[in-house]
Symmetry: C2
């Protein structure tokens, strides 16, 4: 089969790799129908993070084979894969923290396939995959709306949950990438009546507005903070959603959140300074974040996607075949696209 | 009138000071019926924190005079004073964060009296004081149960709120001082079915059990963490309440809380190391804490005290007249008493 291979900084190619075969009783093989390039893939593409050869962690598809112990997933099922593999049985999985599964692993490691590929073999099929009722017959528009559940929509939702967004909460989303835009949609879904999106890109701001942002802050840093403070009666927002991971974004989040508010952070932190406890004690600002436990969040969010209440498929600004993946990476790297969808 | 005066490390005396007089229209004068010594008073008593001459921030009493602008507080009212003065009108006060009032101040500063005193003049009477319905006629047992609202019970509640304690939450309370014991009672009140109290003192552990602790962890540090982990199926607790403020207590809190759980911290931090963002991102542990907005919490908690559902008066292990305050400080400093109540 064909799979995307990371060959070094700025180089992604499609090559022939061995077809996967079931070797362990908890494994499954999925024939990929939809996959995507993630903003976090750009970190290694740009030479900033290490990465193995096989890449991609956002995909959906049709189950082609399962091991003998797999009970909940059946051949022919249409499934969504969260971006981290989880066994579904350890204490953390049972607590809903599947991102931190004791036997968890990333796609493309331990001899398993990654998502930018024709097929993916994965372990712990029952613990990891989520079956989509009526999946393959839903039509491509609905399937495109489901694909963000694999990572970015679950991650945006996680930011909102960790920042305790709910009915009545005012929200500021820092970051207008796919995750930030999904965080806007997730905040709206959770009942936030006022959602600021910090965005200096008109196309992203437009999507943000479509997803539920009530106020676009077309500024950065101190100026963005000033505008948010002014618009909230000199108070700040209840919840700031940090969806970038840079020191600047963190500073904006701390500037925008009110005394006693909450910061939810999901941008993988890069060079963010340690937090003095006195800074928190002196503001009663709550801090919580991590990679999302997508496997835990998907069933709840999927229901709303299937019901037509949640659709962030607008983040996919380009659709390409797997063979053109190099172009997809270049387009995302140079911000010509927000997010690229791949149809193997 | 008489007031306690801090004369230097280990020295507290009662001296004659000028009677207070109303000078500003938002002021009130309260004749103190009950006050208390706070664990945080020991920091300056031990020479670890600076402090002015006048001391005490936990008191209740009868209103003796009010300025012309005071509307909600009337002469003769029995009132509870939270440990921080707040105007009740700034954006933070309106958001319920009265601890961070823009015009807030501590008792004993800016020419105002402190609580270990016969009378207290304070500013922003309407924003600060809470009237107790039927106050002076409630009887001393009830009044003793109300006094902890001024600080320690509100602070224990704040720890539980910041750690998101609610029905079904498993809780570990780190610290068996008055605040920790109140945090146990607050967690029980909020619906926590299982509450671990880390305590190596039998008398405090007994009070903790009386207040709702289901498990006493008679150990410290790693051993305490190990026992909590074992008792929670190798997971840890949903909420850890840090009620001390030392590096050891913080380490126990981080050790006891589960992946994805929450730490609420109310111990004034002393020498606690900065928190790496990666430590939080790698665990999805939430962190939130500060001094309590007692003024905001008191009405809700007071209702349960008046209804007889909440009584932590057992923390007062000694009652003394103001004239014997030096003995009260010494007894608390040497841990002969958990908390000392003063009747001027």
């Amino acid at each position: 089969m064909k799979a995307a291979i990371f060959e070094g900084k700025g180089k992604v190619a499609v090559k022939e790799v061995p077809d996967p075969e079931i070797r362990k009783a908890h494994e499954a093989i999925v024939r990929v129908t939809h996959s995507a390039i993630c903003g976090s893939d750009l970190w290694f593409y740009r030479g900033l993070s290490p990465q193995g050869e096989r890449i991609g962690h956002e995909f959906m598809g049709i189950v082609e084979a399962v091991g003998d112990e797999v009970k909940d997933i059946k051949v022919g099922d249409f499934v969504i894969a969260p971006f981290v593999i989880s066994d579904g049985t350890c204490p953390e999985c049972k607590a809903g923290e599947t991102r931190f599964c004791r036997h968890g692993m990333f796609f493309g490691t331990n001899g398993y396939d990654a998502g930018q590929s024709e097929k993916v073999k994965l372990p712990f099929a029952d613990g990891t995959l989520v079956v989509v009722p009526g999946g393959k017959d839903l039509g491509d528009d609905k399937l495109r709306a489901l694909l963000p559940l694999t990572d970015v929509l679950s991650t945006g939702h996680h930011a909102a949950i960790d920042a305790h967004v709910g009915p009545g909460t005012t929200v500021a989303v820092i970051g207008d990438g796919a995750v930030g835009l999904c965080a806007v949609a997730a905040s709206k879904r959770l009942g936030a009546p006022r959602i600021f999106l910090v965005s200096t890109h008109q196309d992203r701001a437009n999507l943000g507005t479509q997803f539920g942002a009530t106020d676009i802050i077309n500024a950065r840093g101190d100026e963005a903070v000033k505008q948010i403070k002014t618009a909230t009666g000199d108070l700040g927002v209840d919840s700031a959603l940090e969806c970038v991971g840079t020191p600047d974004a963190w500073e904006t989040a701390f500037g925008a959140v009110r005394i006693g508010g909450n910061i939810g952070f999901v941008g993988v932190p890069h060079d963010v300074a340690d937090i003095p406890v006195s800074k928190l004690f002196g503001s009663n600002v709550g801090l919580k974040g991590s990679g999302a436990s997508a496997r835990h969040h998907i069933p709840e969010l999927m229901k709303d996607v299937l019901d037509g209440k949640l659709d962030v498929s607008g983040i996919f600004t380009e659709t390409i075949p797997l063979s053109e993946i190099a172009k997809g990476y270049a387009d995302m790297d140079e911000r010509r696209d927000i997010k690229v969808l791949i149809k193997p």
